[in-house]
Amino acid sequence: MNGGPSRSGAPAYPARRTYPGRLIAVEGIDGCGKSTQIRLLLQWLLAAGQPAYLTTWNSSALVHDALRSAKRDRTLTPAVFSLMHAADLADRLEREVVPRLRAGHIVLADRWVCTAFARDGARGLPDRWLRTVYAFAPRPAVAVYFRVPVEEAASRIFAARPKLKYYEAGLDLGLAQEAAASFDLFQRRVADRYESLVRRERLHVLDACEPVAVQQQRFRSLVRDVLPSWRAGPDLEDAGAPEGRPAGQGAHPSPGGAGRGSGRGKVSAATRRARGGPALEWRADGRDPGSAPAEPGHGNGAAGRG
């Protein structure tokens, strides 16, 4: 259960390999729309009364300030940049993610290890080393790669803010003098890395140029498949699913799910639980949802890389 070699043959930090909960991750280059999608998924799960939580890249209270300061000073070398992000993920994993997975909750990750493999790999760090560094991170039950052309991603970013960030544009690599040109070259490298990860990391690819609601529908369908005991009853089939909505680009389903018109999106989580709704019933270990967290080895949720 603990330790053991990872798939890459890398040494593992003692870590649990399975949890009762589910880890779901989104990946993709900047501007692909993954943050929008994971937030819509969160709303859907919460509306269905599920114990869901969103964790985002570079948000650890311990590491965030140090990284921000180093980015501002532009003192980060590729290896140090990577190690700081690994520390960020380790801190979030230890204090935010693992307790929830152990308790059988759903954790949504806006970027996970493939971000490090893709970005840091694009900065020239060896894949084998990256996989060893991140050997402690559990593998998501579902990881979705939102594929988008770099030009489209760039136009979305420029529409939201006029200036690219230094590291976001890959200016530390000296690929080009001008930020937009550097961004284009760097993000192409990152996208190439993602493409090479699709098979190895079992990434589900979604077309990020499709209407937001259509992407979300596909995303929810993937997530349903990994919640094995989650009854495919009407609550789940309909709650928050964007079927039947106008599916134009940028048409965001409303928070809490697009089932608002049917009234289902307004049903509180407590009400759903009271009437025997889907809350926690997807748990594979068959335990009473109110019981104490399962001991190591129970359940078949997020599988550890190490």
């Binding site: 003692p14 590491v63 980060l76 070398t77 190690l83 204090r95």
Partner: protein, 282 residues
């Protein structure tokens, strides 16, 4: 990081498939290692010297570093200091980690790795290639010992912690745990939470926990000493600061000769100039 003879920042080399730093060499597996992952052989191709002061918490390393650096410069060699926790990049994160008892061991290991790698890439490598003497107040052995005691796998630490540059000399200041405890209590009252291993639940009493933790660290240091061989020099550090400094200088002196290809300084007897330095600088 305090710099006595400041060098240019340097960098990690070409990030575009060139030499992104320590990580690449680590992954290439070209660092020589003894069992347990410790480096064993001095690396060639550099003109500087890398000296590390190691020892348990409260062994007097900082005092000895403060005395050693000006002496190295007086001998005519440019000197730069370094050490665990001295990179500016993760400094805030270390502070936050210290303030957060529930912060975990993996995070600590990765912060150590970021800290040491940053110093290697931006300070040690350029300094050593320019013929400087780098003196570090703790290096990978302490990071490794602390992380091993908190359950990290040795192989994982091998990948994280920089294997290069290999120290030319590691002076391990050997003090007994009771003396360390006295010094810690005198300095700060209750010893630091993690320096007394209280996050490991070794003993409910903080002082007894400190003693147990330091003994456990000593066992690790002893293993490292066997792996490093001649590079690891045990300096008895139970006496006064001047005699300890003299012993360190005697160990360092042979390393200074080849740097400039000229005759180096003479080893000092205990009570010689080192004693005067202690009075003047301590």
């Amino acid at each position: 990081m305090r710099t006595r003879a400041r060098r240019g920042g340097g960098g990690a080399g070409s990030p575009d498939g060139g030499d992104p730093g320590t990580a690449r060499r680590m992954a290439a597996g070209d660092a020589q290692r003894a069992p347990g992952g410790q480096p064993t052989a001095a690396s060639g191709g550099r003109t500087g010297r890398f000296i590390v002061l190691e020892g348990g918490d409260g062994a007097g390393r900082s005092t000895q570093l403060r005395l050693l650096l000006p002496w190295v410069e007086e001998m005519g060699f440019a000197a730069v200091d370094a050490g665990l926790g001295r990179s500016s990049v993760p400094r805030r994160a270390f502070r936050a980690h210290r303030r957060t008892p529930e912060a975990g061991a993996r995070t600590l290991a990765l912060l150590y790795a970021a800290d040491l790698t940053d110093q290697v890439e931006r300070r040690l490598r350029p300094a050593l290639s320019s013929g400087f003497v780098v003196v570090a107040d703790r290096w990978t052995p302490t990071a490794r010992a602390r992380c091993l005691l908190r359950g990290a796998s040795p192989a994982w630490l091998d990948a994280l912690l920089p294997a290069e540059p290999l120290p030319d000399l590691i002076c391990y200041l050997d003090t007994d745990v009771a003396a360390r405890l006295q010094r810690q209590v005198h300095k700060r009252g209750l010893p630091d939470f993690r320096e007394s291993g209280r996050d490991l639940g070794l003993h409910p009493d903080p002082l007894r926990s400190f003693v147990r933790y330091q003994h456990a660290l000593d066992e690790r240091y002893a293993e490292f000493g066997r792996a490093y061989g001649a590079v690891w020099r045990v300096i008895p550090a139970g006496g006064d600061a001047a005699s300890i400094q003299s012993a360190i200088r005697r160990a360092v002196t042979p390393l200074l000769r080849p740097v400039a290809g000229a005759a180096g300084p003479s080893p000092e007897p205990a009570g010689g100039p080192a004693a005067a330095d202690v009075k003047a600088r301590a």
